[in-house]
C-alpha cells in the first residue's frame, strides 16, 4: 500500500487524537467486522467547533483521514463542518489509494453523525434527521438496512 507523505505524517503523528470529556457532540460510525470504526467528539459553543477529538480503530488511511478531517474543522463554524466532503479530506492528504477512499467517507460521516447528535441535543430534530438519512459509513457487513 503506497501512501502519500501527508498520510504517513498524519498516521504517525495524529492530530486531535483522544477523548473529549466535556464533549456536547459525539458520533460513531463504522463496524468492527469491516475493520474500521471512527468516533468523533466535539465541544461546540456558539455554533463554533471549539475543540474536537477522535478515536479510530482502523488502518493507516482511517487514522490519517480522522486526523485530517478534525484538523480541517477545528475552530470552524458548524456550517463548515456540514460542508466538509470526503473529497476535501482526500485532497488535503495529497490523495489516497483507490481502495482506501471509503476511509475518507467514514471520516465525513463520523463528523456528520456527531453533528446530528448535537442538533438532537439542542432540539433541532429536522437538521438531525437530515444528517441521519445519509449512510453512516458502514459497509456490506453491517446490518443497518441501508444497503
Amino acid at each position: 500500500m503506497e501512501y502519500s507523505e501527508k498520510v504517513m505524517d498524519h498516521f504517525m503523528n495524529p492530530r486531535n487524537c483522544g477523548v473529549l470529556s466535556d464533549a456536547n457532540a459525539v458520533g460513531e460510525v463504522g463496524n468492527a467486522k469491516c475493520g474500521d470504526i471512527m468516533k468523533i467528539y466535539m465541544k461546540i459553543e456558539n455554533d463554533i467547533i471549539k475543540d474536537i477529538k477522535f478515536q479510530t480503530f482502523g488502518c493507516c488511511a482511517a487514522i490519517a483521514t480522522s486526523s485530517m478531517a478534525t484538523e480541517l474543522i477545528k475552530g470552524k463554524p458548524i456550517s463548515d463542518a456540514l460542508n466538509l466532503t470526503n473529497k476535501a479530506v482526500v485532497e488535503a492528504l495529497d490523495g489516497l489509494p483507490p481502495v482506501k477512499i471509503h476511509c475518507s467517507v467514514l471520516a465525513e460521516e463520523a463528523i456528520k453523525a456527531a453533528l446530528a447528535n448535537y442538533f438532537r441535543s439542542i432540539g433541532n430534530n429536522e437538521e438531525a434527521d437530515k444528517l441521519d438519512a445519509s449512510c453512516d459509513g458502514c459497509c456490506e457487513h453491517c446490518d443497518c438496512g441501508k444497503h
Partner: protein, 392 residues
C-alpha cells in the same frame, strides 16, 4: 522504560528470504561465464546441460526423490497450477470422468485456491475441507470427501499464514486406502524449514519454491512421482522432458539446489530457532487480549502469528515498519479485497479480531536481541493503537 536502540529486524521470511552469499556466489558464474543454453549442442551448451542435471540430482537428493522426478518451474505458484490442472485432467480422461471433482482445504495459498476457483468456473466440482481451531486438517475429513468422480486432492504441507504443519503422510494414507487419486502437497513453506522426504510422505506431487529458502525469486520446482502423469503445462521447445517448455533459468536453478543443501545442512539448528520462536510467542502473548494463531507445537520453526483485540493489522504493520521491523498481516485493509484472511476466519476466529493479525517469521539469523526488540516494539505499538481505538 528505556527503549532499545533502533534496529533492522527482518521477520517476514515466509514472504521471501535473503539470498545467501554462498548461493549468490555459486549462481553468479552461470550468469557471466557459463551462460550457454542447456539445449545447445556446442560445448557451452553441454556444460550448461551438465550443470542443470547436477542441480536436478542435488535437489532430488535433498527431497529423497529420483532426479527424473524433479521438474523445474518459474515459481511455487506455477508448480501448484500445473500439478492441479495437469494431474486432474489426465486422471479424469483416463478414468472417463465427465465432471471431475477436486478436493483441497479452506486454508490453502491463493495459488491453489484460485486455481480451484478457475477450474470450478470451467465446470469442475470442488470441495474445501475445513480445519480445526489450530488449522489442522483431519485425514478422516479428507477421506470422507472423496467421491466416485474425485480426480485430485491438494493439501498444503504447512500454512504460510499460521505455520501449522499438516499430517500429510496420514492424509495420503487415508486417501490412498480408498483409491489411487493423485495427491499434491504445496510444500512451499515446508521445504527448507522442516525435513521433507517425498517417499516418507507418499505424495504424488510436491511443489516448492526457491525464494522462500534463500535462493532468488523466479524459480520453483515440482516433484512428480514416477508413473504419475500430468498434462503439459507450457508448450514450446521441449525442455523438462517436453512437459514444461521454456529455456531453463539455469543460474536460479543452481541457486535453488545450493539453497536446499544449505537448509538441509542447517536443519540441526532448528531446535534453537524453535526456542527463539517460542520466546517471541511467550513475549507477545503476554500482552492482554492477544492470541497465538495456528497450532502451538505442530508449527513451522520460524512462524509466530497472532491476533490482537481492538486494533487493525495494517496500522500495526506500518508502526512496526517505522521501528525497523518487517512483518506481515492478514488484515482486510492490507488487501485489495478488503476481506480479512480466509485462513484466520477458517480457524473459527471472529471476523473482528481477524483484522488485528500479525505474522512474524524469523530465521536462523534472527538473534535473541532481535527477539527482545520485536517484543518491546509490538508491546509499545499495540498499546499505542489501543489507546487510539474506540473499541478497546
Amino acid at each position: 522504560m528505556i527503549f532499545m536502540e533502533k534496529r533492522f529486524v527482518y521477520a517476514d521470511n515466509a514472504a521471501t528470504t535473503r539470498v545467501y552469499q554462498e548461493v549468490a556466489a555459486e549462481m553468479l558464474p552461470y550468469l557471466t561465464e557459463h551462460y550457454g543454453n542447456p539445449s545447445s549442442l556446442h560445448f557451452m551448451g553441454q556444460q550448461a546441460k551438465k550443470a542443470l542435471e547436477s542441480a536436478r540430482e542435488r535437489t532430488a537428493s535433498v527431497l529423497g526423490a529420483l532426479p527424473e522426478e524433479i521438474y523445474f518451474t518459474s515459481c511455487g505458484t506455477e508448480s501448484d497450477n500445473w500439478a492441479i490442472r495437469g494431474a486432474s485432467a489426465v486422471y479424469a480422461k483416463f478414468n472417463k470422468i465427465e465432471k471431475p471433482h477436486i478436493i483441497t482445504t479452506a486454508i490453502e495459498h491463493h495459488a491453489v485456491l484460485h486455481t480451484f476457483e478457475a477450474l470450478k468456473a470451467s465446470g469442475y466440482e470442488v470441495t474445501y475441507i475445513g480445519v480445526d481451531k489450530d488449522g489442522i486438517v483431519s485425514p478422516e475429513s479428507v477421506a470422507a470427501a472423496i467421491k466416485d468422480n474425485t480426480c485430485l486432492v491438494a493439501i498444503m504441507y504447512a500454512s504460510n499464514e499460521v505455520g501449522t504443519i499438516e499430517p500429510i503422510a496420514d492424509i495420503v494414507k487415508a486417501v490412498k486406502s480408498i483409491r489411487n487419486i493423485p495427491f499434491l502437497t504445496d510444500a512451499v513453506q515446508a521445504v527448507g524449514n522442516i525435513p521433507v522426504n517425498v517417499k516418507e510422505l507418499g505424495v504424488d506431487m510436491l511443489s516448492f519454491s526457491g525464494h522462500k529458502i534463500h535462493a532468488p525469486k523466479g524459480v520453483g520446482g515440482l516433484y512428480i512421482k514416477k508413473g504419475v502423469r500430468l498434462k503439459n503445462f507450457i508448450e514450446g521447445g521441449g525442455q523438462e522432458k517436453g512437459k514444461r517448455s521454456g529455456t531453463e533459468g539455469l543460474a536460479n536453478i543452481i541457486a535453488m539446489a545450493k539453497a536446499m543443501e544449505i537448509s538441509r545442512d542447517r536443519m540441526p539448528e532448528r531446535a534453537s530457532l524453535e526456542k527463539k520462536r517460542d520466546k517471541l510467542i511467550a513475549g507477545i502473548t503476554s500482552i492482554p487480549d492477544t492470541y497465538l494463531t495456528g497450532h502451538p507445537t505442530k508449527r513451522l520453526p520460524g512462524n509466530a502469528s497472532f491476533v490482537f483485540k481492538g486494533i487493525e493489522g495494517e496500522s500495526l504493520l506500518f508502526l512496526l515498519s517505522a521501528a525497523g521491523i518487517c512483518g506481515s498481516t492478514g488484515s482486510a485493509c492490507s488487501s485489495a479485497s478488503l476481506e480479512p484472511s480466509h485462513v484466520l476466519t477458517s480457524l473459527g476466529l471472529p471476523v473482528e479480531i481477524c483484522h488485528g493479525s500479525l505474522r512474524l517469521t524469523i530465521d536462523y539469523d534472527t538473534t535473541d536481541e532481535d527477539i527482545d526488540y520485536i517484543i518491546e516494539n509490538v508491546k509499545r505499538v499495540v498499546e499505542r493503537l489501543r489507546e487510539m481505538s474506540p473499541i478497546y
